[in-house]
């Protein structure tokens, strides 16, 4: 199966997964991935990346890459402004498409991607890797089986120390993450999209939102000339309120400003029969409280290490070992799921996020931003499939 990659930032971990896939999934996958081509604008950087990982050839323009007939799968790790055109073009040329999150800059772009790709009949997937953790899958099972009763409250948080020091440093240059024209939104797209998708995946649909956004560092040095500054036109942080279709209410809090936490994606869910909490900084653990414990005086949250082979995905990896599932393994699982769907020409849903899921997340992000502008609650009214 020929792989063509655009972008080599998060593309590095994708590449790592393609190369490791057969070690973990040789029993269930029919095909072997072959790294055909990688595309990037910086000639030197892309060629040394290709050399290191063993890509056969390099391109500097994605149009050439999507025309390469040896490529069966486009792995789109480019910035969001390149997602729509490249992904749809590839699908029209008969390639399955895995596209990094956020699916697009706006909901309308994302919907167009979904419609155009769906029309070609090609398999499509949005790269929400947070779905592929034994702990998040276990949490979803607890909610869906009714073990936690009716879900009443959700507290969702994603704070991240971007670049190892936090974006609070005003001297960090104005990279594409700070530019609406390329990124669509700020922290909401980069971090919040993970959180929104995870909530939809684990708890259910979000029906309306309201929010506030803030830009703390208004301008940053230009990367090409650090003596000059450019305006930041996306949010550094958002705080919002949510209503779920199932009746629960909740809050969402996202920021790339904190200097304290590293990868603090935390989800607390409260139900009438029990609760759970999950934090991505301890990705193998799920804390679970069950209200029906007989001995109430000794009741409390239990920490479940989701590392035994009985937990989803663990059997493919290293069961029963300390910290044996994390960031890296989630991509291997995600990509294995995608490849397996491609082999069978089946949708990646419900375990994987399709382009339609990517669209719904983009819509929620857009409505949160719109609410921050007009100060009103916004209902989520998606276009049909």
């Amino acid at each position: 199966m020929g792989i063509g990659l655009i972008g080599y930032s998060i593309g590095r971990v994708h590449t790592h997964s393609w190369l490791n896939l057969r070690q973990f999934y040789s029993d269930s996958l029919v095909s072997s991935p072959r790294l055909v081509a990688v595309c990037g604008r910086n000639k030197n950087a892309v060629s040394s990346f290709a050399k290191h990982y063993g890509y056969d050839r390099i391109y500097n323009d994605w149009r050439e890459l999507v025309n390469d007939t040896e490529i069966n799968i486009l792995d789109n790790c480019a910035p969001p402004n390149l997602h729509l055109e490249a992904s749809v073009n590839a699908a029209e040329k008969g390639k399955a498409v895995l596209c990094e999150k956020p699916l697009a800059r706006t909901a309308s772009e994302a919907y167009e991607m979904y419609r155009a790709t769906e029309k070609t009949g090609q398999v499509h997937m949005t790269g929400f890797n947070k779905r592929f953790f034994p702990a998040t899958l276990y949490a979803r099972e607890l909610v869906q089986s009714g073990r936690l009763g009716k879900i009443t409250h959700v507290v969702a948080t994603y704070y991240n120390i971007e670049m190892g020091e936090g974006f609070s440093n005003p001297n960090l240059p104005l990279t594409w993450l700070f530019r609406r024209e390329i990124a669509g939104h700020g922290a909401m797209n980069d971090l919040g999209s993970h959180l929104v998708d995870l909530m939809r995946f684990v708890i259910g649909e979000i029906s309306s939102v309201c929010g506030a956004i803030q830009i703390f560092v208004k301008e940053r040095p230009l990367p090409e000339d650090t003596t000059k500054k450019g305006a930041v036109d996306v949010e550094d942080a958002i705080a919002g309120c949510l209503r779920f279709a199932g009746g629960a209410i909740g809050t969402i809090s996202v920021s790339w400003m904190p200097v304290s936490v590293h990868d603090y994606l935390a989800l607390e869910v409260y139900g009438t029969e029990g609760s759970f909490r999950f934090c991505f900084e301890r990705p193998t653990e799920l804390e679970v409280y069950l209200h029906d414990d007989r001995d109430f005086a000794l009741n409390g949250y239990r920490t479940i290490y989701c590392t035994t082979r009985e937990h989803s995905l663990m059997n493919q990896f290293w069961p029963d070992q300390g910290s044996s599932y994390g960031f890296e393994q989630s991509f291997v699982s995600e990509i294995a799921h995608f490849l397996s769907a491609v082999e069978r020409s089946q949708s990646v849903e419900p375990l994987g996020a399709s382009f339609y899921d990517g669209y719904l997340t983009a819509l929620i992000n857009d409505e949160l931003a719109a609410s921050a502008r007009d100060g009103r609650w916004h209902a989520i009214r998606p276009e049909p499939r």
Partner: protein
């Protein structure tokens, strides 16, 4: 110690230039032969991942694999693209394309296969525990020295960024004078019930002839190495070992029972040359523990504590006299933390169990290329011998009910 790479027969070159420009486009390859598929699976994974994480002019190549079970041998060969497989280790060790023997077999096979490999001039990496007894381990250490090869003991946990940070804090004096260490390794080995279940079959872990000892050897070896690594030489031990489940169903015929000949639970007290004291707990009958390898070190100026179940964290207490004093929970995943820069910095679970092996094997590869030990903190066969001596002495102390002096042979 200097060490020469063994000549590669056939083409007369030490390293073969990658002829097919296959997956990893790097110039020089060194042949790895792997024995055993238990922990061997993560070793194979790590060898394949070294070139993905590190820029190195010399790249490991999975040449041969050997194990007794033909089905598992084929699975390993398929999943990891080994060029060849063998049904016995002797042929693997003899293969001229193999320059490194990575020994992941059960302890019973360690001494003979490592010694044979050493005599054939191969570099040897051997899983922990180094051997079934201190005597066997000593012979292995001597054989490696005689043959002038590089030989590493697989004490993998040393390579965790959080452990290295703890070691740095101790060595730099930030924790002051070290008074004590408490170190335990407790789990149930496998699944939800694991070894707690008296019907768990009589795996080789329970057989003295294959394993040497039980929990004190499988888990305690890690704890004892950590204690020695962090606090230095141990001079005396006193301990107790206990078998809880005395017989278990045979693997080959579960209707029949076989005798458990090793310990399920072990405890020990340690005296260090520095004057510090320590305790060790090892158990594979620890309900509720998945992989609880824990240590805490207390010094005059501060303390650290570490839990393998939360591998990326180190709790650090530094006395600073302020009203905010307390343990800090340091997430050890930044680029500037030890061993972290090549991996996935600042990501949740960005360094995991499998990465420990990638670091370990890369360090060993550096030894092989240099012909001698490169990083003085890496575990040697001598460390493996002393580790086995500590285990034997704890078991002896349990019998004699007396403190046992640790007097390693040179």
């Amino acid at each position: 110690m200097s060490w020469q790479l063994p000549p590669v027969m056939g083409d007369g070159m030490r390293f073969v230039l990658n002829p097919d420009r296959s997956r990893f486009i790097l110039s020089n390859k060194i042949g790895v032969g792997l024995i055993g598929y238990g922990i061997g699976r993560v070793h194979a994974h790590a060898w394949k991942n070294i070139p993905l994480f590190y820029d190195s002019s010399i790249v490991p190549k999975l040449v041969g694999f050997s194990a007794r079970d033909p089905k598992k041998t084929m699975e390993m060969k398929e999943s990891f693209d080994f060029e060849k497989s063998y049904s016995d280790w002797q042929n693997l060790v003899r293969d001229p394309a193999v320059q490194i023997i990575d020994n992941c077999s059960p302890p019973k096979l360690h001494a003979e296969s490592c010694t044979t490999a050493a005599e054939a001039g191969k570099a040897v990496l051997c899983e922990k525990p180094l051997a079934r007894s201190a005597d066997e381990a000593y012979e292995m250490y001597r054989a490696a020295k005689r043959s002038n090869i590089v030989a590493m003991s697989g004490f993998t946990v040393r390579f965790a960024p959080a452990v290295m940070l703890a070691k740095n804090l101790i060595e730099s004096g930030r924790l002051g004078k070290i008074f004590s260490i408490r170190c335990c390794y407790m789990n149930i080995e496998s699944g939800y019930n694991g070894y707690l279940d008296p019907n768990y079959p009589l795996h080789w872990h329970f057989d003295r002839d294959i394993a040497g000892h039980g929990a004190i050897s499988d888990l305690g070896s890690h704890a004892l190495d950590m204690a020695s690594f962090l606090l230095g030489e141990v001079t005396e031990v006193c301990g107790a070992t206990q078998t809880i489940v005395h017989e278990r169903p045979l693997v080959t015929d579960p209707s029949r029972m076989g005798k458990v000949t090793v310990d399920d639970v072990a405890v020990a007290s340690l005296k260090f040359k520095s004057g510090a004291l320590g305790t060790i707990d090892a158990s594979w009958m620890a309900s509720g523990k998945k992989d609880y390898f824990y240590f805490e070190v207390h010094g005059s100026e501060g303390s650290v504590r570490f839990n393998f179940e939360r591998l990326t964290e180190l709790e650090v207490y530094l006395k600073d006299g302020s009203e905010f004093n307390g343990y800090k929970n340091v997430i050890v995943t930044s680029k500037n933390h030890p061993n972290m820069d090549k991996f996935w910095a600042d990501q949740g679970g960005g360094f995991g169990w499998n990465h420990l092996f990638v670091v370990e094997l890369k360090h060993f590869l550096d030894w092989v290329v240099a012909g001698e030990q490169v990083d003085s903190l890496d575990p040697t066969f001598r460390d493996g011998y002393i580790n086995s001596l500590l285990i034997d002495s704890i078991v002896e102390s349990s019998r004699s009910e007396k403190w046992v002096k640790i007097e390693p042979k040179m």
